[in-house]
Symmetry: C2
Subunit: 386 residues, 2 copies
Amino acid sequence: MPGIIKQRLFTPGPTPLLMEAQARTLTAANVHHRTEAFRKILAETLELLKYYFNTKNDVLVFASSGTGAMEGSVSNLVSPGERILVGTAGKFGERWLSLAQAYGIEAVKVESPYGHPVDIEAMKQKLAQEGPFRAVYIQATETSTAVMNDVQALGEAVKNYPETCLVVDAITGLGTTDLRPDEWGLDIVIGGSQKAVMIPPGLAFVSVSEKAWGLIAKAKLPRFYFDFAKERKNQAKGETAYTPATTLVISLHAALEYIKEMGRENLIANAALLASLAREAAKALGLKLFAASSPANAVTAVCAAEGMDSGAIIKELRSRFGAIVANGQGSMKGQIFRLAHLGYYDVADLFAIVAALEIALVKLGQKVELGKGVRAVEEAYLRLVS
Amino acid sequence: MPGIIKQRLFTPGPTPLLMEAQARTLTAANVHHRTEAFRKILAETLELLKYYFNTKNDVLVFASSGTGAMEGSVSNLVSPGERILVGTAGKFGERWLSLAQAYGIEAVKVESPYGHPVDIEAMKQKLAQEGPFRAVYIQATETSTAVMNDVQALGEAVKNYPETCLVVDAITGLGTTDLRPDEWGLDIVIGGSQKAVMIPPGLAFVSVSEKAWGLIAKAKLPRFYFDFAKERKNQAKGETAYTPATTLVISLHAALEYIKEMGRENLIANAALLASLAREAAKALGLKLFAASSPANAVTAVCAAEGMDSGAIIKELRSRFGAIVANGQGSMKGQIFRLAHLGYYDVADLFAIVAALEIALVKLGQKVELGKGVRAVEEAYLRLVS
């Protein structure tokens, strides 16, 4: 330990925590979940989640990672022998395919190369020509490649199929992009606690439209823990079917109050601003963005310079500045690093990480004009913020 | 609330907290101070304080601000009719004079203009020609002007007077400058909790040499709460004469363990590095340092540009970036702003505040080459850190 080096999360989950929300759990150390006090907290939290999701649909909470809710969105909607359509553009899109396989469901896929968004026109074509599909699956933001998908366009298309639901993994999309589930026809939207809502991992959220509830009633795949209809009944009474993660719910309640006070749109604008400043920094430093188009607000994937291992940059950032930045996943490992703009994270944090990145690059032998990335961030800030 | 803006302390106290030390108090919610468990904590804390102070002398803890220990260093050492010598170079030096006045003690002063260190040669001369003085008072770091005094040279001089004690206010000096109480003859050294030790306000520390204990035994000014000899007796048994601030002691224990693990010299090097990087930033941005010489490691005082109110800079930093920076005190208000390098604070924090400062200056109509201050910090970092 050569001096003070703070640990700073710049990862797309877990994200920097809102300490006020963490502190709230301390005053509720002995909450029991089968009490009026907790029922009130859970009921309020579910209402706040509707605000956060920007929906009038039911929103349910599960003690699980986001993947649990993804699984539930397959097992609750589909029956054996039915088919699904998957738009995939990275590691998280591929998870839909794994889920389909695990449940023995045939998945037709529209696959984009890493760094590109899902081709929505191709999905529409499949819908029209290769259906019927019980459900369509996509990511709002593909976290592994830092690309945003046009879920609005897909939603407008799926609306025309009364027997088909659209499921959107918005685990990193929520709180970072404008999503309008009701208007756009996003039947199931999935979120997670360790993302823009700035609390620790352990909770998944899922909003369910009336159209989806209709299909869920008929779906025959096996499910138990992630049984949406069972939870709907319980959560309407401020309870959960199984033991809820009480302290996480209490944190969530506090964090959502903070977000409501700030305004959902301001939280989204915060991520959009940070992402746009980060892209300016990368450009100024001569680093290529991995996203060929539609870069995400939640996270920016930056390519390491030719012949350089992105892991080396990540190591320098970690050891010198305590900054935890994510590597690429799967085949992207070593090629890119991913700088998230999620959680309790502000412009001053971005100033710091960009300056740290400049040092890391110099230490790795890159030719970098010191301060150039930060200057680009500052210029963009002055342009974008009054 | 336009988005996420974190509150960040860059003030010379309170300082950013070590959250691990704060968390420790939660596991000790029901500690009673007259128990073996607390006696053990206090005894260990006092041992750790010796390490922190770099001394073999007794170190005592008081539930008070640093000023309480300053008062005690007058009331415990001096008798009515005796005289003291005060070296003053700013607001905190002037506090010695107020204390002397409150106790009806004649103080001879060596006064430096704000921005200059105390003239140690002049103090030596007074000692030789205008004595006897029961005690000599000075700041290790004058926080109001961000200037460091040469307490080593003063200590070597006072050593020659067996009936005179040297009292050093090291409230911001501890943990930021190399201090050697035993070697240099710093008989009483004063510290405070809300400074480099990175816990909240509420505790004062004071180290007392054998020479000082000898004089304390004869001193006749009235004292009760800040009775050093009484506390020495109590604290030797792991108790305090009056109720101790238990949670602060528990935090202190944890913070000192962190500092011991890091190494006192590394904590000091951290402040020295940050201060030296901050000075480079100021220089690059064309801003004058307030310290004409001997700038402190604990805090850097920067002059606002001609005709500009430093309060305007502080307001921009606070509203845009949540960064709390101190204004000048007294007649220096509006002339300078003070950027501290104290507490749980690292290089990445400095990157952030310098970039924020560039934005603030531009917003106030200054001609600033964006990124230039940060570049200067990065260049100095690369020069100074391997």
